[in-house]
């Protein structure tokens, strides 16, 4: 039990380093706007690994999950209600 947990942590760390290598490596390949997409997808994947495995999001009290979701939603509100304005206002 103990060892499997520690093994999980180490595996996550390796995954994080591999993702870091991928994001750094691909950024030297000209992929146009896909560079940005890859970088952001990998950043989100790495963040989720840290939050779920290292911060044990799903093993915490249910309210902790609620707090995390509300924070994410509130940030989404800020972005999603502001960005359209910048896109469509035409100046």
């Amino acid at each position: 039990m103990t060892h499997s947990r520690i093994r999980n942590y180490v595996a996550t760390w390796i995954a994080l380093l591999v993702l870091l290598a991928i994001t750094c490596g691909t950024s030297f390949i000209p992929l146009g706007r896909y560079n940005l997409a890859i970088n952001m997808a990998i950043a989100i994947a790495k963040a989720l690994l840290v939050i779920v495995v290292f911060m044990r999001l799903f093993k915490s009290a249910p309210m902790v999950l609620v707090v995390a979701i509300i924070a994410a939603l509130d940030l989404a509100i800020l972005v999603c209600l502001t960005l359209p304005d910048f896109v469509v206002r035409g100046w």
Binding site: M63, I70, L78, L81, P84, D85, V88
Partner: protein, 561 residues
């Protein structure tokens, strides 16, 4: 905690004079200044907050009085234009951040939330004290900057004026507000965790008093919105100090970004101010009508709905800013939606009065004043939420009148009502209800004299933030200024009779209003750890129904229905 209870005092051996000692409570436990400045007791910290915000209220009020004096004549003879700009900035900054936002959460909320849920203290007492020190440090720093020369940006700090053009102490005031913001965050965090983890046995979510629901929703807004303000202030500082183009278009920045970020905080901040007031009023009306709050669950859900919608409407401050008109349409629609839960609350308060046994005490007068003034303020808010009408009304006195009806007529009325209602619990003394009722009526009259003319001025087209105006606006301005003097008198009166009551007031019983709620089940003032025995909750909130039922039986028997 020496236990000089009245019961024990009665057992004093014969021959000694029988001294009826006041039971040990949080006020007489210790008397040193250190015992106040280093206290971890939420009740004492609440009083520290109450004293400091009262001081700032009168400083901010003095600035308002000077503005009203200046506006009594069209030429603005009293102060210079620059001074006028600094006065309205000072008034706004102080009233918003140093009075209204901490007003109910940090004083009544701090005092009452643990009592109402049956806890011994907030979850993080040291954090609570830290919050007060941050508040005092930040606000005194700001006041010092204002005395040293002032700021002329308005409380909104709009960029690029604040970042490139203003030659006043912008950075210092930003720093002060930044620090006070963290005080808000800590108070909010404390309240959320306390409500989640420290409720007494049997105190389920739907047994919480609406005051606690309101504090909880407010705390959530404090925690989620304030950091965005903090970052906005950091970015303004960066642009002003280092010339990095974030908001100023000349440097490549985007001025609307500032407004989006600022109002993302500052619109929810309006609900930080008014939601706790709604909580207070629910308690006051239920207790004074001796009736359970009508539609308790809808009231709780309405509080949550207002808190959530509050995050979706900030763009209505930007209808004429050059924001995309499609964004304007969405924000306008969302703003109209806020009217629904607000109206639910107003109707439910009214319905709570139905068949109640109403006592017109001072707290009740304040509460009724709140309902009326909030309704007027809310209805005029709908005018401003309408895109086309707002083009005419933006930046006029109509807006000033609208938000003062909500902030002053609403929040300050509720705050004073709450202070009067819980005064016996907080201080253990009764005040003169006759004087208090007089002050409540004076405030109501003075308030309407001050701000109703401003609606008319706004419709007529008088812009806000000008120290001089065309002569045809003078009549209404003089009315408003005269009203402001009545209002000022109304605010000074409670200082006198409440201050008097501290020394000469009759001792308050545990439950002078015959109200429900755990805070009334402990002695007045409460002991250091709030309850002699930990309370267990067995009934829903506002259990006035048993009394009401028996009254119905009597009514039916006597044939009065």
């Amino acid at each position: 905690m020496s236990s000089w209870t009245t019961g024990l005092a009665g057992d004093v051996p014969q021959g000694h004079a029988v001294r009826v000692e006041t039971p040990s409570n949080y006020l007489n436990a210790k008397f040193t200044i250190g015992s106040w400045l280093a206290t971890h007791d939420h009740k004492r910290i609440a009083i520290l907050f109450a004293v400091s915000i009262t001081a700032f209220f009168f400083i901010g009020g003095a600035a308002a009085t000077m503005m009203r004096l200046d506006l009594a004549t069209p030429a603005g003879d009293f102060v210079k234009a620059e001074t006028y700009n600094k006065l309205f900035t000072m008034h706004g900054v102080i009233m918003v951040w140093f009075f209204l936002i901490p007003s109910i959460p940090a004083t009544l909320g701090n005092f009452l939330v643990p009592l109402m849920i049956g806890a011994r203290d907030l979850a993080f007492p040291r954090l609570n004290l830290t919050s007060w020190y941050l508040y005092v440090g930040g606000s005194i720093f700001t006041i010092a900057a204002m005395i040293a020369g002032g700021v002329d940006t308005g409380w909104t700090f709009y960029a690029p004026f604040s970042t490139m053009f203003s030659n006043t102490h912008v950075i210092y005031v930003l720093a002060g507000v930044f620090v006070v913001g963290f005080s808000s965050i800590l108070t909010g965090l404390n309240i959320i965790v306390t409500v989640h983890t420290m409720r007494a046995p049997g105190m389920t979510w739907f047994r919480l008093p609406l005051f606690v629901w309101a504090q909880y929703a407010t705390a959530a807004i404090l925690v989620l919105a304030t950091p965005v303000l903090a970052m906005t202030l950091v970015l303004v500082t960066v642009e002003r100090l280092f010339g990095i183009g974030i908001f100023n278009p000349v440097l490549g920045g985007d001025p609307l970004l500032f407004q989006h970020l600022f109002w993302f905080y500052s619109h929810p901040a309006v609900y930080i101010m008014v939601l706790p007031a709604m909580g207070v009023v629910s308690e006051l009306i239920a207790a004074s009508a001796h009736n359970p709050v009508f539609g308790y669950k809808t009231m709780a859900f309405a509080i949550i709905a207002i808190a959530v919608l509050g995050f979706l409407v900030w763009g209505h401050h930007m209808f004429v800013s050059g924001q995309s008109m499609y964004a304007g349409v969405v924000f306008s629609f969302m703003s109209f939606l806020v009217a629904i839960p607000s109206a639910v609350k107003v109707f439910n308060w009214t319905a709570t009065l139905w068949h109640g046994r109403i006592t017109y005490t001072a707290p009740m007068l304040y509460a009724l004043g709140f309902v009326g003034l909030f309704t007027v303020g809310g209805m005029t808010g709908l005018f401003l939420a309408s895109l086309a009408l707002d083009v005419h009304l933006t930046d006029t006195y109509f807006v000033v009148a609208h938000f003062h009806y909500i902030m002053v007529g609403g929040t300050v009325s509720a705050y004073l009502g709450g202070i009067h209602f819980w005064w016996p619990k907080i201080t253990g003394r009764m005040y003169s209800d006759r004087w208090a009722r007089f002050a409540a009526i004076l405030l109501f009259v003075g308030f309407n004299f001050t701000f109703f003319p401003q609606y008319l001025l706004g419709i007529a087209g008088m812009p806000r933030r000008y120290h001089a105006y065309p002569p045809e606006f003078q009549t209404l301005n003089v009315l408003s200024s005269a009203g402001a003097l009545i209002l000022a008198l109304g605010y000074l009166l409670p200082l006198l009779y409440l201050g008097w009551s501290l020394f000469r007031g009759a001792r308050a019983p545990a439950n002078p209003w015959d109200a429900t709620g755990l805070e009334w089940q402990t002695s007045s003032p409460p002991p250091v750890h709030n309850f002699a025995t930990p309370p267990v909750v067995t009934e829903p909130p506002y259990a006035y129904r048993m009394a009401a039922l028996s009254r119905d039986v009597v009514d039916a028997r006597e044939g009065t229905r």
